[in-house]
């Protein structure tokens, strides 16, 4: 089963990560690759470069970043393939231990055909 892991750091990203942070993240991704669970990951640039697009009653509204509510800001995403939700949670804990703050929302992705 595959999970989408959406990371919400709880604050706007503050510049480039330090060498130490990058090394720690590199080690974790290496560990995940060696366990065969790593599929894809991407990090987001500051929300000032993004926008929120909504539809309501057929009308679009576009709100350019930066966004005020820091809590909901998405900082990055990963797709992992694991054997259980518990395993996805465990890898997420290891990720959060490296970044040190915020929360991750993990969502199982649709599989077709549906698993037996």
């Amino acid at each position: 089963m595959r999970f989408l892991c959406l990371y919400k750091p709880g604050q706007e990203s503050t510049g480039a990560p330090t060498q130490q942070e990058m090394d720690a993240m590199g080690a974790l991704i290496g560990e995940m690759s060696q366990a065969g669970v790593f599929i894809q990951t991407e990090g987001c640039q500051p929300s000032a470069k993004g926008a929120r697009v909504r539809i309501n009653g057929g009308q679009f509204t576009v709100v350019d970043g930066p966004f005020a509510e820091a809590k909901e800001l998405v900082g990055g995403m990963a797709v992992i393939q694991v054997q259980s939700k518990a395993e996805a949670i465990e890898w997420t804990k290891r990720f959060l231990a490296v970044v040190g703050r915020g929360e991750s929302e993990i969502r199982q992705l649709h599989e077709m055909p549906a698993p037996e």
Binding site: M1, G30, S33, Q34, A35, G36, V37, F38, I39, Q40, V79, Q81, Q83, S84, A86, E87, I89, E90, W91, A97, E111, M112, P113, P115, E116
Partner: protein, 418 residues
């Protein structure tokens, strides 16, 4: 945490840590069976302590320390204890009759330990069935029950297969080593064969009521990715991983809502998983950058990529596929590859030419009971308008497959030809 949550979390940690733990222990005690016993003992300790104390920050190191304490304890008392423990004692004693150096535990060699574990699980002294079971158990993190369900055999059969496999490895004194030089190629080919066998059993189950068992495809893909991390310079390993990614990209397009198979030309390609296709194409590039002659898996991945690149079945580059099959038939000749090549001949040069390439295989002993031979022949005959003959071929194919879903599909195709 509720007890069940705690146990689920421990099980997850265990599945993540077990391969490395068993690998490190096997290097130290020089016996895979003993290593697994010690790892299991560490798991028992974790199940006793973690629900109360919480999961430690570095669970891998905790489990290693627990296994170490257990091993030293057992080593000291081995003469007085029961058979299982005596066996552990012997394994430990084998190393210069002293307590092995557990402090070298989980170190930088972790990758090497895992790789040794891969090679020993797929060792040629074991039967293919035993290799599959041991690999899924030690590296795939599957329980014997899960393996049994995946292969539709009773749980005790798998359990016994694993026990015997471990005993054989001990008896034959199989070195816990990464093969080098000329040996490496043959041993690696055995590993790739085991992984692809697992994948194929998931992709098109040889028996049972489900045409596919996607969880086996996932297990195989995971094993393949692990191996590709451990042997980054082996082109055909990347080839196999790419092949599995591209084939798996079609999983959701391969059956309808009621579980009936949908064949490649009829699939809704919008359902193909573009992420897996992209990973597959990247794997092929990685393999080709290594600049060695293309092996059988890389060639098959390249064929799969031709399908993946075609947004509609009609856009498929069959000429290129045929030339890849020609190369594959030279590199790795087999009746099944010759059969697939005949399909490509039929698409690239017309059904009559395909039939010609196929009929060379009609008396091939290896294909005598292979359902895809009459099935492919039926396809070609339909295109030639020889419907009565085609019906006979589909009926024959249906009588040869052990998979219920595939049988239905073949019978249905037979009925349509009138």
């Amino acid at each position: 945490m509720a007890p069940t949550d705690a146990h689920r979390a421990i099980d997850a940690v265990w599945r993540i840590e077990a391969p490395r733990l068993i690998g490190a222990l096997a290097r130290i005690v020089r016996d895979v069976g003993v290593a697994e016993d010690l790892a299991q003992d560490a798991l028992v300790a974790a199940l006793q302590q973690w629900p109360h104390e919480g999961i430690p920050r570095n669970p891998g190191a905790w489990l290693m320390a627990a296994a170490k304490h257990r091993a030293i304890d057992v080593f000291r008392r081995s003469k007085r204890l029961d058979e299982k423990h005596a066996e552990i004692g012997r394994g430990l004693a084998a190393e210069q009759n002293r307590i092995p150096d557990f402090d070298s535990g989980l170190d930088d060699d972790m990758g090497d330990d895992l790789l040794r574990l891969v090679f020993i699980s797929c060792h040629p002294v074991l039967s293919t069935e035993a290799r599959v079971a041991l690999t899924l158990r030690l590296l795939g993190g599957l329980t014997t029950d899960e393996i049994a369900r995946a292969f539709l055999v009773p749980e005790p059969t798998i359990a016994q297969r694993i026990v015997r496999a471990k005993r054989t490895l001990t008896k034959e004194r199989v070195a816990f080593d990464v093969p080098r030089g000329a040996d490496l190629e043959a041993r690696l080919s055995s590993v790739l064969g085991v992984i692809y066998l697992v994948f194929n059993e998931g992709y098109t189950a040889t028996a049972g009521d489900d045409w596919m068992r996607p969880s086996l495809c996932e297990d195989a893909s995971r094993l393949g990715r692990i191996l590709a991390e451990l042997t980054p310079n082996e082109a055909d390993v990347h080839g196999l991983v790419a092949l599995m990614e591209i084939q798996a990209s079609r999983l959701r397009a391969r059956v309808d809502e009621s579980g009936r198979p949908i064949l490649l030309p009829d699939q809704n390609r919008a359902l193909w998983d573009r992420l897996l296709i992209r990973r597959g194409l990247e794997g092929i590039e990685r393999a080709e950058r290594l600049g060695v002659a293309r092996g059988p898996y890389l060639l098959q991945a390249s064929i799969a990529a031709c399908h993946a690149r075609a947004l509609e079945a009609g856009q498929t580059d069959w000429t290129r596929i045929l030339s890849l099959y020609d190369e594959l038939a030279r590199v790795s000749p087999s009746p099944v590859i010759a059969l697939n090549r005949a399909v490509a001949v039929g698409m690239a040069s017309g059904p009559q030419a395909g039939l010609g390439a196929l009929d060379v295989l009609r008396d091939n002993q290896a294909l005598r009971t292979y359902h895809l031979l009459p099935s492919v022949r039926g396809d070609l005959l339909v295109k030639l308008g020889r419907l009565d003959e085609a019906r006979g071929e589909f009926e024959r194919a249906a009588s040869l497959t052990r998979n219920a879903r595939e049988r239905e599909l073949l019978l249905e195709r037979g009925r349509r030809q009138s």
